[in-house]
Amino acid sequence: MPQAALMRIEEVAALIRQGRSLALAGDEAALEGLPQGRWIGGTIPYFMTAAGGLSSRERIFVHDVSDWGAQPSIRYYALDELHRVARDAPDHGVSLIIIPAGSEVHSAYARNAPNYDDMYLKPLLGWVAGVHLSELGQRAPRVYDGLLGTSVSDCAVVMHIPLPATRHALIDIVNPFQPGAGEIITFAATGFEAADCLIDGRPANLADYYRDRALDTRLPLVADYCGAPINVSIRQVHYRERRVEFYAPVFPGVEYRLARPLPDYLVDFAAAMPPAAARAVFSCNCILNYLYGELEGRQTQGMVGPFTFGEIAYQLLNQTLVYLTFDDATS
């Protein structure tokens, strides 16, 4: 059985009953029917599969983590506990986190995760749960603790997995977007929306900037984090109110540029994918790449997993594929 695959509900239930440890992604109706067991899950009905991108409410994407290391622990993190997530992680292991989109924990994690204790010291990755796009604003994304047999929409769920001493978890990203040659945009404060900013050091309004240049809002703002291109995606430009909403916060002290356009997402994706990604044991990609990259029915270089409302490689990312590989020492 593959360790990462899209499965029918009854197949997943059988794995749970066998005592396998699973990280699941699926529509609420599919996840609700699963038995109690050592699994976590989040709602999302969009998937990267070996057959290409697809949407399904009947199937569940399974990452079977049973053989990664020791038996995982599972717990919810409420808003006031979230800052402990990396500190609680095993000293040598990897932690998978799923956060419901639009919740207070989503906002708090996005804004504050870079400053959490032990952040970046212990491998922490995951994704943001969402809903079918036809149900936006009607249903709340949910996350599941399979051990408790419950789901919530106001906490993050985390699976902490201790690893053997000889196995090291490596988290990386594939982001075909690169900063364009345009102006440098900076912000004075952390936020999911902005009006005032500095453009090449001069005070400006970001919505005006988009309007005056007729900029493509499907392109993220990209910052260079010591060589890693980190995106902030545009949720909406409110031209009349002269403000811009983002899917992840912008941070002060960080220089952003509008991304260079990608003529074909998959071509650039393939070019950006490092060889190590072929050994990925876990991955997730952004729903915006599924939509803007027109990935329905198209394969993503063998990478499989859910299309999500946000990707987490330590901190919240946008329009990025996140993946995990293991470095197994021989001694």
């Binding site: 808003l79 970046y120 988290i171 990386d172 330590y314 901190q315 470095d327």
Partner: protein
């Protein structure tokens, strides 16, 4: 100058904090200082959560505030005691620059302010007898003994942590080495391959306060701790950076 203004200056109390009351007891050579947030109850008490303006940590404010008292560094022959109300779960207090990280505050369960603990720590490093340290600082001998055993435990834990790698820390320079400043400033092109190091270094650079020596040392310690923990997967970076 009013007593409260005098104490604000001498203790280094800055916004969002302020001295609300001072009581002096000459008979027992004791000064009590009450410190509150400038916004009073509204800063902590009305909203369900508080987002620390400096480090961004979110606190649960549904729990009651607790008043704590810590002995602080003496003024002349007078012992000083600081009283302050804090939220129950202030886990970001150890972050440099956090509004809950102040030299006149101490650990929730502790009896001494951070500054006084540091002063005693310096005296312990000089290997002075516990009774002498207690006399110099006006602290009970029992507190000095507690700090000595606590420091010994922390030192042992740090040694264990640093030995936990495949070999010793000879391949990672000490915190005083100028390479750390060059790495933090971006002066050195480290050609980093590892995502977590790229993100950590970027965060440190974005939040850097070059004029704050203590914060800078904390940044170096944070970065050095990262290298100690991840040396197995950072071979190529370490060769480029340290050699």
């Amino acid at each position: 100058m009013k007593d409260s203004e005098f104490c604000r200056h001498i203790l280094g109390v800055v916004a969002p904090w302020d001295v609300s009351r001072v009581a002096c007891d000459p008979e027992h050579k004791r000064i009590d200082v009450w410190i509150k947030s400038q916004q009073g109850e509204s800063w902590f008490g009305l909203r369900r959560t508080l987002e620390c303006a400096t480090c961004g940590r979110v606190f649960n404010l549904r729990q009651a505030l607790q008043e704590h008292t810590w002995q602080h560094i003496s003024i002349g022959t007078f012992k000083v005691f600081v009283h302050a109300e804090l939220p129950a779960d202030p886990d970001c207090a150890d972050k440099p620059g956090c509004c809950l990280s102040q030299p006149w505050l101490g650990a929730r369960a502790g009896a001494l302010s951070e500054a006084l603990e540091q002063q005693i720590g310096q005296l312990l490093r000089l290997r002075l007898p516990e009774a002498e340290i207690a006399r110099l600082t006006g602290v009970d001998t029992g507190e000095v003994q507690r700090l000595r055993s606590q420091r010994r435990g922390a030192s042992d834990a740090a040694s264990v942590m640093e030995r936990a790698g495949e070999d010793d820390a000879d391949d990672i320079p000490p915190r005083q080495h100028p390479i750390w400043a060059r790495l933090l400033s971006g002066e050195m092109d480290a050609q980093i391959k590892t995502l977590s190091l790229k993100l950590l270094l970027s965060r440190i650079r974005a939040q850097a306060r070059p004029d704050d020596g203590a914060a800078r040392l904390a940044d170096i310690d944070n970065l050095r701790r990262y290298f100690l923990k991840h040396r197995h997967s950072l071979r190529s970076e370490m060769v480029r950076i340290f050699h």
